[in-house]
């Protein structure tokens, strides 16, 4: 078995596992059995691929960012255009996979958490498509900064429940989703949106997102006759990054995950789990790096982007870092903001603020690499949802 597969308890090395209240063990066992029965089932995969193609609009293009490349004068930059999927982010891939599973498991009520709102929109979309009840938990701070997506979810028929606890962001929305699930286990399916949480979610979400890297690898080979030198993706929970990386793990390709550097290095001002303040810990069902204080209390986080504003990171990323297979860097709010503007003005593509962190790192390293070098940046989502936040940020900076 590949060293990139978790063991049967969902561990990659020392990371992963299943740290949940006892009540959730049975539904997680049911989910694991349900998923493994379908994982290599032809009929299931045919159905999945059909919706990926005809509903989500796959394959997405691999686009050469010619002007950005020229401007930076170094490595050639390619963009994997997940922003062009239906609903505008990679999140739809996982939502389709899991809704098909939920249907086969006979679940009638779907719940999900959302940070930036993209996973909430993707979930609300597939629930509308299949006529299933949908409840989305979202921190009230995120409701404020991603208002457009709240309207979209409501338009799609979902109930959006604001979560007022903790930092009122993604972590708190996950807590509330877990509380809902533990209370309504019999009819409810928890459609988790990133490569996080208790086994089998990190594995299952990765599998459903790995279509990104499979396509990109094929597209790049067809176009260039070789593999790219590097891959770059932003990392919140880690689903778009692992989705791009997975198909390349056995190749000689450098990979870089980019965390949210926020507005400073102090605990509470960023969401860079691999920076100072990140320690191995247990949060929301999985063992991984967690931003926490010396007493083991989970730290507040900050990022300009709601989707990266999370205190922990998917366990497979902690493992890939521990074995030296993937490098991790961070981009600050200011750098992401600059990259957001740069990509918009140079390529005519407005990225999500999450995505802009990956772009920022590409902008940082491309000039240091030779012109023959190539890299693929995962353009995980489009930025329409962020225009208000960006305007606010710009005003805030003007006042400073």
């Amino acid at each position: 078995m590949s060293k990139y597969e978790p063991d049967e308890r969902g561990y990659w090395g020392e990371f992963g596992g299943r740290f949940v209240p006892e009540t959730l063990v049975a539904p997680l066992d049911e989910l694991t059995a349900g998923y493994f029965a379908l994982r290599s089932d032809e009929e299931f995969n045919r159905e999945f691929n059909y919706y990926l193609r005809d509903f989500a609009g796959r394959p997405t293009p691999l686009y050469f960012a010619e002007r950005l490349t020229e401007k930076l004068g170094g490595a050639r930059i390619f963009l994997k255009r997940e922003d062009l999927t239906h609903t505008g982010a990679h999140k739809i891939n996982n939502a389709i996979g899991q809704i098909l599973l939920a249907r086969r498991m006979g679940k009638t009520r779907i719940i999900a958490e959302t940070g930036a709102g993209q996973h909430g929109v993707a979930t609300a979309t597939v629930c509308a498509r299949f006529g299933l009840e949908c409840v989305i938990y979202m921190g009230t701070e995120d409701i404020r900064r991603q208002e457009l997506n709240v309207f979209r979810m409501r338009m799609l028929g979902a109930e959006v429940r604001g979560v007022d606890s903790g930092s009122r962001t993604l972590k708190d929305a996950i807590n509330e989703s877990l509380r809902d699930w533990v209370t309504n286990v019999s009819n409810t399916y928890y459609l988790l949106g990133s490569a996080l949480g208790p086994h089998p979610y990190p594995l299952m979400v990765r599998d459903f997102q790995s279509v990104i890297g499979r396509e990109a690898r094929e597209q790049f080979l067809a176009r260039e006759g070789s593999l790219p030198d590097a891959l770059v993706a932003c990392v919140g929970g880690g689903s778009n990054a692992i989705g791009l990386f997975h198909a390349f793990l056995e190749d000689n390709v450098r990979m870089i995950g980019v965390e949210a550097g926020g507005s400073g290095d102090e605990l509470g001002m960023h969401a860079a789990r691999f920076a100072a303040g990140g320690h191995i810990g247990i949060l929301q069902g999985t063992k991984s790096y967690v931003l926490q204080d010396a007493a083991g209390q989970v730290a507040a986080t900050h990022s300009i982007s709601a989707g990266l504003d999370y205190a922990s990171i998917g366990p497979e990323h902690s493992y890939l870092r521990s074995i030296g297979r993937v490098e991790y860097a961070s981009a600050s709010d200011d750098e992401a903001f600059a990259a957001f503007k740069e990509l918009s003005a140079t390529e005519g593509i407005i990225p999500a603020l999450e995505t802009a962190h990956g772009i920022a790192h590409a902008i940082r390293i491309a000039p240091t690499l030779p012109r023959e070098a190539t890299m693929i940046v995962n353009l995980s989502g489009r930025g329409d949802k962020d225009l208000m936040s960006v305007a606010e940020y710009e005003n805030g900076r003007a006042e400073r």
Partner: protein, 270 residues
Amino acid sequence: MNRIASKFAELHSAGRKGFIPFVSAGDPNLDTSLEIVLALADLGADIIELGVPFSDPMADGPTIQASSMRALANGVRLEDVIEMSRRFREKSDVPIVLFSYLNPLHRYGLERLARHAAAAGIDGVLVTDAVDEEAAEIGSLLRANGLDLISLIAPTTSDERLAKIAANASGFLYAVSRAGVTGARSETSSSAEELVRRSRKFTDLPVAVGFGISTRQQIEEVWEYADAAVVGSAIVAEIERSIPLGNVPERIRTFVGSLLPEVANAGTEN
């Protein structure tokens, strides 16, 4: 025999059932919290469950979430909870079980926790989010220091799993009365009785029932089929109501006394 085992032996020979109150340690502050648990011991609590405050209590409803936040706002850490237990132990022999999420314990160091908890006179630890498969390490460290790892069972736990959990358990089993988070309910679900009955097939350990028990009638119902009843959110909610009124320990004494008059009587006999 440790304090938990002797407590259940004592209950058994007296033909009594147990009352196990839960409070979040350090709510509203450490000194008051200590006075509250001393009052509970004085009223006849058979075991005291002390919640270790955590920032992300995913298995708790709003009442215990809020109490956890009050304690955290006062800067209460695991080491303070251990110290509070030590001070309690100077005055009382009532067994103490820490009720915690894994992360604060993990950060403290599991081996260090086991040693320090034993030295402070803590008798057991229950870890909400460390299910059987994930609890081997902490379980053996606790046992090596003479403490019990208290295991949870739930209505969704299969017989096969019950057998496995029971085989690894010590002290007592904590049966979660219903699928859900902590929080007071006016009725105890029938799934609790069924769960306790199923668990008896696999273990002779005492079984306590908790989650949602908030009235005297519910306690009496649980005592019909289980060995002990755990009351958490109802007491914690009373602490919350008492804070603005002052003299919290006395108010808790009155409240719990009314919840459990027989226990109050039993307490004075000790």
